[in-house]
């Protein structure tokens, strides 16, 4: 069975939610402690949301130095699927695995609300099972989700089809309405919305499941 490692830093809080969503789709998942220098035998890695190291200094700034991140980089370099959700996206940009940065929302407010996303590419570890142009209802929950990067990087992201999902109605000022991007290898994906919060009809949406399904498929290919 495909196994997903879910990285836990002190201050991470969405780890159990991601594990619940992965298991509901038939995947296996286990927590990985940030202080470990190596990954257990896993086929994919998720860095979940929360406030790693209290978001002190700035989100992700301290987490990039946790021992596990060396192993995550190595795993990613070998083509292993790595997904950062919300705070995990911030960690991945700080680590340099993904381009750009997440600054404070344009309204200078924390926002926990529904968001409508559009799938911009299916050529990524997180969207392979979706369709281009498909709209997904997946909530956001962040203060620093305003994606920004240099004009050159933005052009490159578009040229290389690396914008993964965009907001239909931009809630936070993100450049190019970007909600998620991937690396050149297309195996590392970061996004601000929380697909695990849209994984059950009781929660109002199941649209996040197409992302976890994609991840499990990518993991299988990698394994």
């Amino acid at each position: 069975m495909t196994k997903v490692g879910v990285v836990v830093f002190p201050g991470t809080n969405c780890e159990a939610d991601v594990i619940e969503s992965v298991r509901a789709l038939g995947g296996e998942a286990e927590m990985v402690w940030h202080g470990d220098a190596s990954l257990p035998a896993v086929d994919a890695v998720v860095i979940p949301g929360g406030f790693a190291h209290g978001d002190y200094l700035r989100p992700g700034a301290i987490a990039q130095f946790s021992a596990i991140m060396g192993a995550v980089k190595e795993f990613a370099d070998k083509g292993g699927p790595v997904v950062g959700i919300c705070n995990g996206f911030q960690v991945l940009t700080e680590t340099g695995l993904l381009p750009g940065a997440l600054q404070k929302n344009a309204g200078l407010k924390f926002l926990c609300q529904p968001a409508e996303l559009r799938v911009a590419t299916t050529n990524s570890a997180l969207t392979s099972a979706a369709e281009v142009g498909q709209t997904l209802h997946i909530p956001i929950n962040h203060f620093e989700g305003n994606f920004t990067c240099s004009p050159d990087t933005l052009a490159q992201l578009h040229d290389e089809d690396r914008v993964v999902v965009t907001y239909v109605d931009n809630p936070n000022g993100s450049m190019g309405d970007i909600a998620g991007v991937c690396n050149q290898g297309r195996n590392v994906v970061g996004l601000m919305p929380h697909p695990e919060r849209a994984s059950n009809a009781l929660l109002g949406s199941e649209d996040g499941n197409v992302m976890f399904t994609s991840l499990l498929q990518s993991a299988l290919t990698n394994a």
Binding site: A16, E20, G54, G107, F110
Partner: protein, 741 residues
């Protein structure tokens, strides 16, 4: 002449004398300061205890009732729920961000102290009017504080209330409720047992913040702004990241059975935690004050013992388990220090200036005397002299409104500006979130994460207008509203916690309000078979000599027995029939939002018929738990039928045409036991049959359609006008941005 020390610490001359009698000698300054915090109104409930005894506290699901850190309810399947509500009114009045943040932090510790993982916070908030700049500053700071602390600590804020009214100018109410769940077998109590066991202090270093918070701040009213600003250092400062790690470390300790007892450090700090654990366990405790990690040098023993520095816990640990405890704390980067030992020294709490038997004894008091022998006051109470006269003056005698549309629009307020700043979805439990009549959370097994297929309903309710007019009926009707709110999401009530926010107990009229409110709550709880499992009393809510309107707030936990789909919520579809369940002729306006807006605060509150109420609630619950049968449901409360209909219309984006509501009194009365239901034309006859069978009056009010909000003969206004009045109110007043955090 200098004031005697005991008075400066807030103790009366009689109380100082009692302390001398208990000790058989005059207390030293450290001992005096310990008694002053423990015997404060906030810690000892000395004015309210005598009345609180009347509340019913027993029920078949109650595992732990009042008196512990939290009430605990048996939810079945080996799952227990811990619930508590607290106030942080005074700290929030002078330091809104930290006051609200540490209010959340404090109540989380009360929950995980019991062994439960906190899974939800609710915040009933009350501020002065939006027109008042200071009230806006307080409101914005409080919301930021809850957002900043709650989101970061990783516990979702799933509901609450936001009320603006002139009665709270200068004295806002910041109440916070927390719900946790645990495997029933993990339930622990805050007690020390086993002579030779170690007292281990976990978490933050102890600093000079929050010294005297319970006595200086919480147990006195506000008078002038400058003096109150000088109390700002009495407010604690919170660190949600520390708390998050503390939660994980403590739950791990409890999972592995490494603590025989555990207690949070809240009001009155170490003094309270050490004496409470020793007192509950019937043992003594020696505390070596030199072992307590401090934030700064030169702290006096009385500062160390009464500091309210946040994010600290006291665990009682067997010596053989200490190494494992230290290992867990190290993993979670939580500071842990052995600061004391459980003794068989006749229940004495001794504060020592060093280790060993020859250490200087700084304080030596019977631990239990700090709690059990706290003074108990039967303060004089008196109903207002003109009460009979006031009750004669009904709000129905006021002139009819010039514009019902304007009056209606003025009562609409969309709270999403507040709750969109709170993470309300973490843990994937939130089926109906903030903005609903009541919150619905999935009930998952805390040990395995497996869904039980059942849900928990949770609501907080308070109504200062009803209680100002009649504290007894007002409180009873508040409890009834909670029951109906739960029914609107398909939940049956299980247990209640209360937060009693009142003015200065030294005013006989305030004590009368408190006593009446407790009588009303007792009456309603008995009628609904609803045990009170915990509570908090907040007195001295006064500003510049004026007491707040009495504001008892209740939190009620309920059970959804079969959670198949989200409850329908306050909405309708185009073409639906709009139906009223309950009395179609209720017109009493006294105590209503509409009456208060005209400055009318008198008259007689509509009484409740408990049988009729139970019938409406029961029918509503059945309809909601029949997925697809009705389109929407909403109870009638603040703002009456008019606001109820407008909220349903706004949420749906579909207008309505309503008949049979012939007067503004019918439109704005807040009489209890009424619900509006939206149903398809096809299901209407069955609905009427079901209502008749349940003995509930059912009245066809009209049709959901078009884009106008129309009540024949009274009002016709574009729905968009009402929608923007509601949606724009808070963003316009409070702006789009944060000022802190």
């Amino acid at each position: 002449m200098n004031e005697p020390l005991h008075r400066a610490l807030g103790l009366t001359d009689d109380e100082a004398e009692s302390i001398t009698k208990i000790l058989g000698r005059a207390p030293n300054p450290l001992e005096l300061s310990m008694y002053s915090v423990m015997w404060s109104e906030h810690c000892s409930y000395k004015s309210s205890r005598i009345h609180l005894k009347r509340l019913p506290t027993e029920g078949e699901h109650v595992l732990v009732g009042p008196g512990e850190n939290a009430g605990v309810i048996d939810m079945g399947d080996g799952i227990a729920a811990a619930i508590r509500i607290e106030s942080h009114n005074h700290p929030s009045a002078i330091e809104p961000y930290q006051g609200a943040a540490t209010g959340a932090g404090g109540i989380l510790r009360d929950i995980f102290t019991m062994g439960a993982r906190p899974i939800a916070l609710m915040d009933p908030l009350r501020f002065g009017p939006l027109e008042d700049p200071r009230s806006r500053w307080i409101a914005e700071g409080v919301v930021n504080g809850i957002s900043g602390y709650g989101n970061s600590v990783g516990v979702p804020t799933v509901g609450g209330e936001t009320v603006f009214d002139e009665t709270y100018t200068g004295n806002p109410l910041v109440n916070v409720l927390c719900l946790g769940i645990m495997p029933t077998e993990r339930l622990v109590l805050g007690q020390a047992t086993g002579v030779g066991n170690l007292a281990v202090l976990l978490g933050s270093r102890t600093g000079r913040d929050g010294i005297g918070g319970v006595s200086v701040l919480a147990s006195a009213g506000f008078s002038d702004d400058e003096a109150d600003a000088a109390k700002r250092p009495n407010v604690q400062v919170g660190d949600p990241f520390e708390e998050k790690r503390l939660i994980e470390a403590c739950l791990k300790l409890l999972d592995e059975g490494l603590a025989v007892g555990i207690q949070d450090l809240g009001g009155a700090g170490l003094c309270c935690a050490t004496s409470e654990t020793a007192s509950r366990g019937g043992v003594g405790m020696d505390v070596d004050i030199t072992t307590i990690p401090l934030r700064e040098e030169g702290m006096e023993p009385f500062e160390i013992m009464t500091s309210e520095s946040q994010e600290r816990m006291l665990a009682i640990v067997e010596p053989g388990n200490l190494d494992r405890v230290m290992e867990i704390c190290e993993k979670w980067e939580v500071l842990a220090s052995v600061i004391g030992t459980v003794t068989d020294n006749a229940g004495a709490l001794r504060i020592l200036d060093g280790p060993g038997d020859d250490a200087i004894v700084l304080a030596d008091v019977p631990a239990s005397s700090l709690h059990d022998e706290a003074p108990l006051y039967e303060r004089p109470l008196a109903e207002p002299a003109d009460l009979a006269d006031r009750r004669q003056r009904s709000a129905n005698d006021l002139p009819a409104p010039e514009s019902i549309a304007d009056d209606l629009a003025a009562m609409l307020i969309d709270p999403s500006w507040v709750y969109s700043q709170y993470d309300h979805q973490l843990f994937l439990n939130t089926v109906a979130g903030p903005g609903s009549d009541a919150t619905v959370l999935r009930l998952k097994d805390p040990a395995t994460g497996a869904d039980t297929g059942r849900g928990m309903g949770l609501t907080t309710d308070g109504n200062h207008r009803w209680c100002a007019v009649d504290p007894k009926r007002g409180t009873a009707n508040t409890v009834a509203e909670s029951v109906l709110n739960l029914a609107c999401v398909g939940a049956r009530p299980l247990a209640l916690v209360n937060c009693l926010n009142f003015g200065n107990p030294e005013h006989p009229e305030v004590m009368w309000q408190l006593s009446e409110a407790i009588d009303g709550m007792t009456e309603a709880c008995l009628a609904f078979d609803l045990p009170v499992v915990g509570g908090n009393v907040s007195l001295y809510n006064e500003s510049k000599g004026t007491n707040i309107d009495p504001t008892p707030v209740v939190g009620v936990l309920g059970m959804v027995d079969d959670l198949q789909s989200p409850p329908p919520g306050k909405r309708w579809n185009d073409g639906d029939r709009i139906v009223l369940l309950g009395d179609p002729d209720a017109t009493e306006l006294s105590g209503s939002t509409w009456a208060f807006r005209q400055g009318h605060k008198q008259g007689s509150l509509p009484a409740i018929d408990y049988d009729a109420h139970a019938a409406v609630a029961g029918l509503t619950r059945d309809l909601v738990n029949d997925p697809g049968f009705i389109t929407g449901v909403h109870d009638i409360s603040s703002g009456g039928l008019g606001v109820c209909l407008a909220e349903m219309a706004i949420a749906s984006g579909v207008g309505c045409t309503v008949a049979r509501v012939g007067s503004h009194a019918l439109l704005f009365s807040e009489a209890p036991s009424r619900v509006v239901v939206a149903v398809s034309a096809d299901n209407l006859p069955t609905l009427e049959e079901r209502a008749a069978a349940a003995g509930v009056p059912v009245t066809r009010l009209g049709l959901a359609h078009k884009d106008q909000f129309a009540v024949k003969g009274l009002v016709e206004v574009p729905l968009a006008t009402l929608a923007s009045a509601s949606a724009d109110r808070l963003p316009n007043a409070l702006g789009g941005g944060t000022t802190q955090g």
